[in-house]
């Protein structure tokens, strides 16, 4: 199977993630979109790792690192979302406009 299939899939997922971050208004969905971007990169890493064969182990290890870091980021992100929800009863990023310019 050519590696380009996986790269195209990864690029598509990454682009969907970018679109989600830019277009979504709910902070939780923005967070999900960021996760989508990170996982798109994981597909990339694993595909390249498979391409390299025996010497490609670091790519898979890196994918595991990314999963762990993503979990830590989501932990912090959801904590901040909860903090904001408690104070405003909303997690709409468009409404976060105490500060502008």
């Amino acid at each position: 199977m050519p590696v380009s299939y996986f790269l195209v899939l990864s690029a598509l997922l990454f682009s969907i993630g970018v679109y989600g971050v830019l277009a979504r208004q709910n902070a939780v969905l923005v967070l999900l979109s960021i996760e989508l971007m990170l996982n798109a990169v994981n597909i990339n890493l694993v595909a390249f790792s498979a391409l390299l064969g025996q010497t490609g182990v670091p790519g898979q290890v890196f994918a595991l690192f990314v999963i762990a870091v993503a979990a830590a980021e989501v932990g912090i992100g959801l904590a901040i979302v909860i903090l904001i929800f408690r104070n405003r009863q909303s997690v709409d990023v468009e409404e976060m406009s105490l500060m502008k310019w």
């Binding site: 390299l52 890196f62 992100g77 979302v81 976060m96 310019w101």
Partner: protein
């Protein structure tokens, strides 16, 4: 199973990451100590422990001075750049902890997490400056970013603080994803994420020895990857157009943390940028230079112009920090020895000045940071002459006026860029410095020439915070008058570099 059987032990050298290990250890101790004994109102020992840890980390970093090698399977560079950066970052952390102690006690939000998170952040920044592998660089970046997301939200009662944290987090995570994509593409292009690679380019590939051993037409994927790495690091140094988070995050964060972010994040990201571009990717400079020049020019202009209209002093300094990222970028673009040492000198002195400025702002702001507008600083001189003089000094240094350290820093980075043949970038830099001088002068005029608001409450000035201001002021004027020790230290802070299987290439001898 034969338990007596010996295995060959891998070589483990911990010298290169000893400061980080110490800091993480101290941070964990702080959390445990506070959970076990922290019931009293006055928990001075938390700040004391952190200060001791940071001083120890600086000492460990000084002990590696003069080393020039890769450690831990080429993952960590123990070189001059790392040592210089670690000492500077430990100093920034120390100032932040001492300032934070007064700040937290005043606002009654003192928690052990603050100190632990600052130490984790400093450890992450230090690791970032020593990373010789993109995986390590990414982990370090996330370590300090995640700590800072929490620290920005530390003013629990303030909606602005929460909003800052949210914006900083979303854009920071967004930029990390781009940085990660850059790493993955680099991995695909060269089969490794190492910046240097081992002695044998086939068995142990790395960016540096891949470029020198490959015909240029095979480099396209690496060049694309470089673009994504620039986006990721550009967010962290707050280069235009990746600067949108900076004013919001700086405005809502607690002032000591704002200063720490301006000083530390910038330093760590720039150290990584210097290592990546001025050492590993140096042979590809004709490809990345135009990109960085566009970023630098846009950053200098946008930062300086947008700062003029700001009414909030923290926001004003946020835009000024954006402009400063542009000035330092000229040193990166120069990509010569003077550029590297000049950028390091600039970042160290800028960090001290900006921490001092935010120390004064946090004092003037009073409880819950209610007085941070420019108008709140009217006639400050007549009430607090010393604080005002110190803030004036910091602003003069940020503006790059002679006799302050900021002037020397600008002189060196601009000189390096002229040496490399980028005079027009320097002309833009000088012009935008002139624009920037305008809003610094506006702040000074407000403090000296206008009447004090009679309703302004008296300022309680903590001893630690005034000590931080004094130290920063002495350093700012000291390095402005006697700059040679720090410049010499920065010049000896060379980046590890190897030119594998290449006898010709005297590519950057020192960095």
């Amino acid at each position: 199973m034969n338990l007596a059987q010996e295995f060959s032990q891998p070589e483990v050298q911990l010298g290169g990451i000893a400061p980080e290990l110490l800091l993480v250890g101290v941070a964990l101790i702080i959390l445990v100590v506070d959970a076990s004994f922290g019931r009293g109102d006055n928990r001075w020992y938390l700040a004391g422990l952190s200060a001791l840890g940071l001083a120890g980390a600086a000492a460990l970093a000084i002990m590696t001075w003069g080393d020039n090698e890769l450690q831990l399977s080429n993952m960590i560079a123990a070189d001059g750049l790392a040592a210089f950066s670690k000492v500077s970052l430990a100093a920034f952390g120390l100032l932040t902890v001492l300032l934070g102690r007064d700040y937290l006690a005043r606002d009654k939000i003192e928690e052990s997490e603050f100190y632990a998170l600052v130490l984790f952040a400093v450890a992450g920044m230090m690791l970032m400056t020593a990373a010789a592998d993109l995986i390590v660089m990414f982990l370090a970046l996330e370590t300090f970013s995640v700590s800072l997301y929490v620290l920005v939200a530390f003013r629990r009662a303030s909606l602005a603080s929460h909003e800052s944290a949210m914006k900083y987090f979303l854009l920071g995570a967004f930029s990390s994803a781009f940085f990660l994509l850059g790493i993955a593409l680099t991995y695909g292009a060269i089969g490794s994420t190492n910046l240097y690679g081992g002695a044998d380019p086939v068995a142990e590939p790395g960016i540096a020895n891949f470029i020198t051993g490959t015909p240029t037409d095979d480099l396209s994927l690496l060049i694309v990857a470089t673009g994504f790495l620039v986006i990721g690091l550009g967010f962290k140094i707050a280069a235009v157009p990746f600067h949108m988070w900076t004013p919001d995050a700086y405005q809502g964060a607690p002032s000591p943390i704002t200063g720490f972010m301006a000083a530390g994040t910038k330093f760590a990201a720039f150290a990584a940028l210097l290592r990546l571009f001025d050492a590993s990717l140096f042979p590809l400079r004709s490809e990345w230079r135009p990109l960085l020049i566009v970023l630098a020019v846009a950053t200098m202009i946008a930062g300086s112009v947008l700062a003029i209209v700001q009414e909030d002093l923290k926001r004003l300094l946020a835009y000024s920090s954006i402009a400063h990222a542009g000035f330092v970028l000229t040193g990166v673009i120069a990509a010569n020895d003077r550029g590297v040492s000049g950028a390091l000198f600039y970042l160290a002195t800028y960090g001290v000045a900006v921490l001092g400025a935010f120390a004064v702002i946090s004092l003037v702001a009073g409880r819950d940071e209610e007085r941070v507008l420019l108008a709140d600083h009217r006639g400050l001189f007549y009430e607090h002459p010393l604080l005002t003089t110190a803030l004036t000094l910091f602003l003069l240094s940020l503006a790059g006026v002679p006799v302050t350290s900021g002037f020397v820093g600008k002189l060196v980075v601009f000189g390096a860029a002229v040496e490399a043949g980028y005079t027009w970038v320097v002309v833009v830099g000088v012009l935008t410095s002139a624009i920037a001088a305008f809003f610094y002068l506006k702040v000074m005029a407000t403090m000296f020439l206008q009447e004090r608001d009679p309703d302004a409450p008296a300022l309680p000035v903590g001893r630690l915070a005034s000590g931080v201001v004094a130290v920063a002021a002495v350093a700012t004027i000291g390095f402005g008058l006697a700059w040679s020790p720090l410049i010499n230290a920065a010049e000896s802070a060379t980046i590890f570099f190897q030119s594998p299987q290449e006898q010709s290439a005297p590519i950057p001898p020192g960095g």
